[in-house]
Amino acid sequence: MKILYFAWFAEKIGKREEEIEVDSSVDTIDKLIYLLRKQGKAYEETFAELSLVKVAINKKIVEHENPLTPQDEVAFFPPITGG
């Protein structure tokens, strides 16, 4: 699964994108966040406050309960602050 990070999420995690292997049990954003939190301290800190975690699947903003498939492009970012 392709995962993108933006703004201070990318700074904290130290990368803007990564490909991760997920099994079919990771079928919602909630479950993906749970999995990512276990990847280390930077991930844990980034995903600590869930109200600050916004998500887009295939470039559409969705809720954390949204289903996902391994083919999806998932982007995590803080609330949009505009230009």
Binding site: A7, A48, K59, P78, T81, G82, G83
Partner: protein, 172 residues
């Protein structure tokens, strides 16, 4: 309709001339061109720190630049969607949203929004609508870069969210 991201400085006057000229040769119907140009300011905003940290220093500081992070593919889709909505709400001939991304030194253009129509009211309203939407919907994140080297990711501006909500209420 044109939605563009600029990775380096662009001249809003040139962009506006080129937008208007596209219609001069083959369409003499337009009687109004409205535009908004946003420019990077040197004074910081009084918004809270947006990175979830404990630091909450909102003292005004002098800025050298803004850093605008962006999810390009989604931003273009979102700006096209905003232009399409403006076309639905008002009788427009054309509209454009052009946004700068990356490092933006103070004084340079951040955004250009323009609308072309037969009558001024449609052009004004559409330009204001697109400007208000572009402040809250496309995936842009603003980081202030101070002369001291300090950086500050901003939170969403409440007044910008309110303006977007006001438009939705108007349409209901």
């Amino acid at each position: 309709m044109t939605a563009l991201l600029h990775k380096s400085n662009f001249c809003p006057y040139e962009a506006l001339r080129s937008f208007a000229n596209r219609h001069n040769a083959n369409n003499s119907q337009h009687g109004a061109l409205a535009s908004f140009c946003g420019i990077a300011r040197s004074n910081s905003e009084s918004r809270q720190q947006g990175d979830g940290s404990e630091k909450q220093n909102n003292e005004p500081v002098s800025l050298v630049s803004l850093h605008l992070d962006c999810y390009p593919a989604m931003a273009i889709l979102c700006m096209q969607e905003i232009i399409a909505e403006a076309h639905k709400r008002w009788a427009l001939i054309d509209a454009t949203i052009q946004h700068r991304v990356g490092e933006i030194p103070v004084g340079e253009t951040i955004v250009l929004v323009a609308s072309l129509s037969k009558k001024r009211n449609n052009a004004f309203e559409a330009c204001r609508y697109m400007t208000d939407m572009v402040k809250v919907r496309p995936p842009f994140w603003k980081c202030e870069m101070a002369a001291s080297g300090q950086k500050k990711w901003l939170t969403t501006a409440e007044q910008d969210l309110q303006r977007a909500t006001d438009w939705h209420e108007k349409s209901e």
